[in-house]
Symmetry: C2
Subunit: 287 residues, 2 copies
């Protein structure tokens, strides 16, 4: 069955969903995106994702799409039309199609942003069996651009990183810069040592994860100790536990790094507990 | 008059030229490109651009588009159909549209690369009056990813750099990393001091310019001294001349850097001579 997707005001079968070859996301990676999860048909952390979208647009001097204030309705319409119980909604805004290629930004009065949304149905997302066994990661050099806090579509290297992990028999990669882990290819990275949850502090070096913010809040509410600081691969390999967070994986345990088991090489209690809390609280707060 | 452009085997009016919203260049900047100039209806340095295209594809493990061996014909057809005397032909290959979004590369047996070409008519390209007055550049931090030798569509920061230059009353920006100039936003950077032409050596830090290679060859043939090494902004401001090279600007003199005049602040003889030689020899060798 074909999905119904949204492109610039129209709901279309996915096969008919196209953008101009002059769209600046296609020609110059001049676009930003968000991924919002759906659990039980409800949107998870929706307000957080839309706030970050606005932040990304502002950071790039990009106008909001005309339908910005209708984004909740559009998300809900896509959930309904595609009968999504569990899954994700992908949203992308680009600076639009100026009708030609030019490094200079087009006049925002003339060229309107492109807005695209589509669903990805993932039955079993909350009850993902991988969360019981954990994932294995490798470390790779972080050679991405310097503004990883802006959620742009410049995802070629993260994509290459996933392929490097796959080729190494692992599930994902952690990026390392100046000897310290920045984050995962599409998630924030954490270790747990002596009961303390350690994750890199916010800066332009990492994505300001919406799931990260929620998980750290829940952790603190549960009286867990959180340390926001960077850590090395060595330190991670000596940790008791490790995990990643993202909108689509929630809290996902990491059980090995570069072939070395983390802790006893199985899923630990802190990651398990945080995943439970996050999913439970997020479903309650879903819209 | 509407251009005729090329998309995956079809010649189309530009208004009808679209790609799927699932195209990986649109969603993940997973695409590479080339720009070939046209002078007198002939393609300039065509073989060099196609060799670099192949290098970019190989570096990303991307298949050649099916029409790879017909690219000369396609370029010529577009020149003819759009009556291009002077201008550029833009070519982009992406990893294709997998029908969904996934960081993992799609199976290349199933998902074919997307091939897009379009023309940009620029009458007066060879006799560009700006070459007589030169351009002013500013220096900005180089925060791009680490593989600038691969000509990907990750051009958001170069585009932002052009806007920073514009906002500063300049024409373009030079990128600086670890105190040294890497290159311009869309060109290679050079200074001239005591008759020596100085430009950064090839590495993953800069684009391996096709025009750069030709200009350095012509310079050496003309008994000029070429030093391939990096230089600082300070050194550039103390130089006798400066210039940039690219497929669309050929050799373009730079007369100021961060507000300081270079040499006497006018176009110098080395840049002028190299521009003449490059255009003359390239037209002779055009195909």
């Amino acid at each position: 069955m074909s999905r119904i997707v949204y492109v610039n005001g129209s709901y279309l079968p996915e096969e008919e969903a196209t953008v101009s070859i002059f769209d600046r996301a296609f020609l110059m990676a001049d676009g930003v995106y968000e991924v919002t999860s759906v659990l039980g048909g409800k949107l998870i952390d929706f307000a957080g994702h839309m706030a970050r979208l606005e932040r990304s647009l502002n950071a790039l001097g990009m106008n909001k799409p005309e339908a910005f204030d209708e984004l909740l309705d559009i998300h809900r319409e896509l959930v309904t039309r595609n009968d999504i119980d569990e899954g994700m909604i992908y949203l992308q805004v680009s600076r639009g199609a100026a009708g030609d290629r030019d490094f200079v930004f087009p006049d925002p009065e003339v060229v309107k942003p492109t807005l695209v949304l589509f669903t990805q149905s993932k039955p079993g997302l909350a009850d993902n069996p991988t969360a019981k066994t954990g994932i294995k990661v490798i470390s790779i050099d972080d050679i991405r651009w310097g503004r990883r806090d802006i959620k742009t579509v410049q995802l070629l290297y993260p994509s290459m990183g996933k392929m490097m992990a796959k080729d190494a028999g692992a599930d994902d990669a952690w990026l390392v810069e100046d000897g310290k882990v920045t984050e995962g290819t599409s998630n924030n990275a954490y270790i747990v040592k002596d009961g303390r949850i350690i994750t890199r502090e916010l800066s332009t070096d990492i994505l300001h994860g919406i799931t990260r913010a929620a998980v750290l809040r829940f952790a603190r509410e549960a009286q867990m100790t959180v340390e926001e600081r960077s850590f090395t691969v060595d330190e991670a390999q000596q940790a008791d536990e490790a995990f990643v967070t993202s909108a689509s994986t929630f809290v996902m345990p990491v059980v090995a790094l570069d072939g070395a088991p983390i802790g006893d090489g199985t899923v630990g209690p802190v990651a398990t507990r945080l995943r439970e809390i996050y999913i439970e609280e997020s479903i309650k707060a879903g819209v």
